[in-house]
Amino acid sequence: MAEARTLYEKIWAAHVVHEEPGKPALIYIDRHLIHEGTSPQAFAGLKAAKRKVRRPDLTFAVMDHSVPTKNRDLPILDVTAKGQFDALAQNCAETGVRLFDMHSANQGIVHIIGPELGITQPGLTIVCGDSHTSTHGAFGALAFGIGTSEVEHVLATQCLIQFKSKTLLVRVDGQRPKGVTAKDLILAIIGRIGVAGGTGHVLEYGGEAVRALSMEGRMTMCNMSIEAGARAGMVAPDETTFAYMDGRPFAPRGKDSQEAVARWKALASDAGAKYDREVELRAEEIAPQVTWGTNPGMVTDVTGRVPEPGSFADAVDRQAAERALQYMALKPGTKIQDIPLDRVFIGSCTNSRIEDLRAAARVVAGKKVARTLKEALVVPGSRLVKAQAEKEGLDKVFTDAGFEWRDAGCSMCIGMNDDILPSGERCASTSNRNFEGRQGKGGRTHLVSPVMAAAAALAGHFVDIRDREWNVDGAE
């Protein structure tokens, strides 16, 4: 009998083009996603070496990192951003790579549009010059972020020289309580294993609570695998996956679709497959999460308090906590729910899909953003998400409550456009990184789920979304 293999091992084995003992393998890349931020130098390198894009048909480009989220029809005044857009447009025109530019109806954050267009499929290898490429692993694909030199490598060869990773199974069993979302699961996991807990590993998420998640929830979890140090995170494809794939523009159709599903069914890890490590969590024990520090592992329950640095046993952790609290201007012992906010950002490749917006809108409906708030932004992950939300009237729900409704892009998750968190201000954000200066130099970021961000916008401070007044149903 063949040895039991994990999902990762199956995809890896199916993609080895060449290998020699003691050397990294040459693996094939099925889909290459590029954007304006990390590709110009790769194209320049390719040109300098007189090399060609090997498979423009497997390469997809989009403008997302630096695009404005309002007044997109006006000229771009940021000359460096304009340089990025022009370079991407020219590089794609010269090489035949399909580009979704900022005026395309399909434009959006690269990790939102790949799945929604069906470019992302189970069993594929997918790379992009962006660390949140781990998102696509939600489909049972092997997807990871790469540097610009590797972008150039893939453009030229459609392959990468890769070392095999170790595997870490993260099981979340039991049922998620009301108000506890995929975002809370992944934040709790990072809090448990740490921001370097997955280094050198590919994570596979399993267990009842993961199986019960929609594709969008699974994407939220896989998205933040990199925040635990893992380049990739995966969920085995199942009926939820196959239903999501059905009818997507770039996905298999008709008879091919049935054959594809049959292939995809065989991807799941075999019973008895061995992982290098395993971690288990119980969903019932997870509360809505709020980060208090300057990395996603510095996280606690919404019912908790800002920790005393002295409570960390390790000297390194103590020092890091002290520094983080200084940057965040937080006093140890402060109740999380007493932390006042200046801004709220609902968006990013972590949480800007239609289900995120629906869930946030349900919290917001008929209410008003707190007067103390300077700004509350909703930035849909893609123009398709935006159009769908508008069809459902969600934009009106948000704007009636006092939120701004913007065009699609990375926006205030990274602050490469005008959407920047000012220095000294505090933001509840549905994004993925609370690093120093991430949303803007001197800005203070707290990571939360969309429903937690929505409720915080109304209250002006963090609140427990599970409290009855917020009326969350079982869904998210």
Binding site: R51, T80, T133, G145, R231
Partner: protein, 212 residues
């Protein structure tokens, strides 16, 4: 083309913080340039400058004694976060040829090799000792030998480090990895032919998605 690496001796600068992310190494506003060169002035920008111009006297790289440092000594999980290679470009352009830490984030570790920067992973206790010596002795420098896989100072300290043989070879030669992969053209083409049915790509005439 990357600069081959064999041996390097240089002044050590200590960055005593864990989980230093690549957003700090090259903040976002400098990730809009179209070149690979000239990022040294942006390295640790928000820590290095007050109001974006005046050097911050409290930041270690601004201490006169560490001016001209070419070995960066760091703490665990160095280079976590964003995949931006701009971080490695900034480290190199600033003048660092070697980065030493007890552990590195995967993508940054990889990006260092692609740019001729040697990331050296040492044991926690060894890194602690290097921090002590760097801070105690002005002008403290280290010699790093890639062939021997050693780090030495002038007063008898000797640490050995592990490195994958392929990475070592590639760095020693300043290898063009793309050229290396292209030597397997026939295999790549054969793979594509065999693989095609398992990875079909449907080209929609009209891209339109429905939501349920």
């Amino acid at each position: 083309m990357i600069q081959p690496f064999s041996q390097h001796t240089g002044l050590v600068a200590p960055l005593d913080r864990v989980n230093v992310d690549t957003d700090q190494m090259t903040p976002k506003q400098f990730c809009k340039l179209l070149t690979r060169e000239g990022y040294g002035k942006f390295l640790f920008f928000d820590w290095r400058y007050l109001d974006g111009e005046k050097p911050n006297p409290d930041f270690v790289l601004n201490f006169p004694r560490y001016r001209g440092a070419s070995v960066l000594l760091g703490r665990a999980n160095l280079g976590c976060g964003s995949s931006r290679e701009h971080a490695a470009w900034a480290v190199l352009d600033y003048g660092f040829r070697v980065v030493i830490a007890p552990s590195f984030a995967d993508i940054f570790y990889n990006n260092c090799f692609k740019n001729g920067v040697l990331p050296v992973q040492l044991k926690d206790a060894e890194v602690d000792e290097l921090f002590r010596r760097t801070e105690a002795t002005e002008g403290y420098s280290l010699s790093v030998d890639l062939e021997q896989q050693t780090v030495r100072d002038d007063s008898g300290l000797l640490c050995r480090f592990e490195i994958d043989p392929f990475r070592k070879y590639a760095l020693q030669k300043g290898l063009d990895e793309i050229g290396l992969s292209l030597e397997h053209e026939a295999k790549i083409a054969a793979y594509e032919k065999q693989r095609a049915p398992a990875a079909p790509l449907y080209d929609p005439a009209r891209v339109d998605v429905k939501y349920s």
